[in-house]
């Protein structure tokens, strides 16, 4: 398998552009649950006005190359699609052990108490709703390689400079 030549995609989030409108949360909840219930949204926007820098942040699935959630899932409910790059969850295989919720450092999957399974971002199986409705362009779909470089710059190199 040659990862670099795949047409896998990833969602990137640029905190500097985010306005905190949280329209992505609404769009996500409506697409996945059919109602405006941001608690059901697979993406979460954080805002902390007391911080001097980086007042906005997002809890959004990174659709990792080596997903920690898939590694800990005992029932193979979480799978990484190598072709599309999506990490998706199969509700009928999920046993509700919450291991993915526990293991993901971002805690992206969360437990749906009504369905008794974990749910997570599924890339909307195509064009993500959050990206489609992001008016400021903070959320974008990048090719996998590009997204890795983008996140590296934002979260790994920036840190080393500090």
């Amino acid at each position: 398998m040659v990862r670099s030549q795949s047409d896998a995609k990833a969602i990137v989030y640029e905190p500097q552009l985010c306005t905190g409108c949280r329209y992505c949360e609404v769009a996500c909840a409506v697409w996945h649950c059919g109602r405006i219930d941001v608690a059901q949204s697979r993406i979460r926007i954080l805002f902390d006005e007391e911080r001097m820098t980086e007042r906005y942040s997002a809890v959004n699935c990174q659709h990792c190359d080596d997903p920690i959630c898939c590694a800990v899932c005992p029932s193979e409910a979480l799978q990484k699609d190598e072709k599309t790059g999506w990490v998706t969850q199969n509700s009928s295989k999920c046993v509700g052990c919450e291991m993915c919720v526990v293991a993901c450092p971002l805690s992206v999957p969360f437990f749906d108490a009504a369905l008794k399974v974990a749910v997570k971002c599924d890339f909307c199986f195509g064009v993500p709703e959050c990206v489609k409705h992001c008016s400021s362009g903070a959320l974008r779909v990048y090719a996998r390689e590009e997204a890795v470089r983008f996140n590296e710059r934002l979260y790994v190199s920036a840190k080393e400079e500090q």
């Binding site: 954080l46 942040s57 990792c64 080596d66 590694a71 800990v72 509700g96 291991m99 526990v102 450092p105």
Partner: protein, 303 residues
């Protein structure tokens, strides 16, 4: 625990009839008359009620009047999960049970349904009947599902069993610094779903347990797990064992640098609320994931 009764009336208080069939099966196992007991046709002649089913609006008055007319001293044996807790009918709009809220119950025979051998065993035990070869009869055949038992050493307290249990027989109780996973005998319908989903194979449905009890609230088994304290907010959240299991799975399946590994280990000490609500924690988490991603893409370019 003797009950002085010889004349039995079987009362069907609206179950699925599974227990009734098993009660009737007793007739195929032994010659009831030889045991000195009698199965009677009306409650008036009886001094022991063998109640099956969880009681609904229609059968409740019938059950009350049957109990009123049986001969003194009155004895009641509840047969099956429905009689003890309403079983799978729990929450039904017409249900008025369980039986012990209507009439006093002397003995509960657990099972959904209990095997005829178990019902006979319970009768033999409590009525002091001499049944030839009772031990052999009670011996459970291979592959038969009995009470669930949880292995304290293997259980990680994830709660998958409680989530999947169709009869709500598994309780997850957070008590102080511990999480309790408790298997309640009264509700169990022996479907073995808990055994099937358990990620660590800690649950096993064992055979050969005695299944009749004076009280119904006993748990078959339970596991106690120490809960972890969140590094950020200091609250107790999930069990230590669950976090350790997650880490061991990650070690098994993924290769990562020692720096990332220790960061991931730290993130397992933070509760879900803090992970999802604090910008600095989100940043920390994203840096782990970004570093893992660049590592993976580097590997991809090489191959």
């Amino acid at each position: 625990m003797g009950i002085q009764a010889t004349r039995i009336y079987r009362f069907d208080a609206s179950g699925c009839n599974g227990c009734d069939i098993e009660v009737l099966e007793i007739l195929a196992l032994v010659q009831v008359a030889e045991l000195g007991i009698e199965i009677v046709e009306t409650p008036k002649e009886a001094n022991l009620l063998l109640v099956t089913g969880g009681s609904n609006l229609k059968s409740k008055p019938e059950l009350e009047s049957a109990y009123a007319v049986i001969q003194e001293p009155r004895h009641v044996i509840a047969v099956g999960s429905c009689a003890a807790t309403m079983g799978i009918f729990k929450g039904g709009y017409a249900m008025t049970g369980p039986i012990d809220t209507i009439i006093p119950v002397d003995l509960y025979i657990m099972g959904c349904p209990p095997r005829p051998q178990v019902i006979l065993g319970a009768l033999a035990d409590t009525l002091q009947l001499k049944v030839e070869g009772m031990e052999t009869l009670l011996h459970t055949p291979q592959g038969f599902r009995g009470d669930p038992h949880v292995d304290q050493g293997k259980c990680i307290g994830c709660g998958a069993c409680a989530n999947v249990c169709p009869a709500d027989a598994i309780e997850i109780v957070e008590s102080g610094t511990e999480r309790l996973v408790r298997f309640m005998r009264k509700d169990c319908i022996f479907c073995a779903s808990c055994q099937e989903v358990c990620p660590t194979e800690a649950v096993e449905l064992r055979v050969g347990d005695k299944a009749w009890f004076r009280t119904k609230d006993a748990s078959t088994s339970e596991a106690r797990l120490q809960r972890r304290t969140c590094l950020v907010c200091g609250t107790l959240f999930l069990p230590d064992a669950q976090m350790n299991w997650a880490m061991s799975r990650v070690d098994e399946k993924l290769e990562m640098g020692t720096g990332d590994r220790s960061k991931l280990q730290r993130s397992l000490n933070i509760c879900m609320q803090c992970r999802r609500n604090s910008i600095s924690e989100v940043r920390e988490a994203k840096s782990i994931l970004a570093s893992l991603a660049s590592r993976a893409s580097g590997r991809g370019a090489r191959c």
